[in-house]
Symmetry: C2
Subunit: 172 residues, 2 copies
């Protein structure tokens, strides 16, 4: 484990981060669904817009894992943090890298200040970190549940994709 | 249907919007989980921070429904829109109000510009609108699927709540 270092990702890491995204998509037989590129990740994360925050795990000099988050907003608890991706390259599984990355995410979620003016207390830390998991991915579910997360098996994800949006609007 | 009007919510609508949030939470036997207030919604949505966008449905002079969205970021397709809540008060169900609210959300998702500098095309409209649904809520699932949305029953929602974050950090 000594050779593993976690740090915040920089713009120049987006090539390696994108490779991890594509590796996972290929595993899910969805490589063609990846429309982003290292360049769009750089634009959306680092060129003024900062739509997400990312950490990378380095094993010696190679980036072998990443965690990717952004804020969401719950009508029940207010600002929350969403973990979009937690990826460790196949050759580096079982070394505890996913856990180290998740540690950073939880520490970050706890540390960010959500200042409320004229509110009774200054409220630090999001009240929830959320993510999504495939219901047949038992190792991942075990990993998350061991760390205190609740897998809400009765909530499903719904998506209206680009073609769906187009067709929806044609019917109006 | 003539008496139903949909419009963007204003800061002063947050009392009514919060009542709808609480009504749904009560239906899900989770009223105590609602930690937001009309005041925090005003602060987070209208006092400079704009963490979300909201529409309300009015029946005559009363707010009877709302849709509540914010941006997310997909590592596959880039910026996407998330529908956090779509609520119609019980006495006004079956009038088509949910459909009218969803229409606004989809039109908005299609219209917002996601400008990419030095990208081949100027890309307008998000590539996806996502939300979550309870897997036993068959009327809602039917409503969404009829409109072209895909209910991904193999993806579950995972949450680490405030107490979970605290306990997680204590174990580090």
């Amino acid at each position: 484990m000594n050779s593993i270092k976690i740090r915040e990702a920089e713009s120049t890491d987006m090539d390696a981060v994108h490779r991890l995204i594509v590796e996972l998509a290929r595993f899910e037989e969805s490589e063609a669904s990846v429309k982003t590129s290292p360049r769009t990740l750089q634009q959306d994360g680092y060129n003024g817009s900062a739509r997400f925050k990312c950490w990378v795990a380095k094993n010696k000099d190679e980036i072998v894992g990443m965690a990717f988050v952004y804020p969401r907003y719950s009508t029940w608890v207010g600002p929350v943090l969403h973990l979009e991706d937690l990826i460790v390259t196949e050759s580096n599984r079982g070394l505890g890298i996913g856990g180290l990355l998740l540690d950073e995410v939880v520490k970050y979620g706890h540390s960010i200040g959500v200042k409320r003016i004229s509110w009774e207390v200054l409220d630090w830390g999001v009240k929830r970190i959320s993510w999504e998991v495939l219901d047949w991915n038992e190792p991942a579910i075990k990993f998350y549940e061991e760390r205190g997360a609740r897998v809400m098996r009765d909530w499903d994800v719904v998506q209206l994709d680009e073609m769906g949006i187009k067709k929806y609007l044609e019917r109006l």
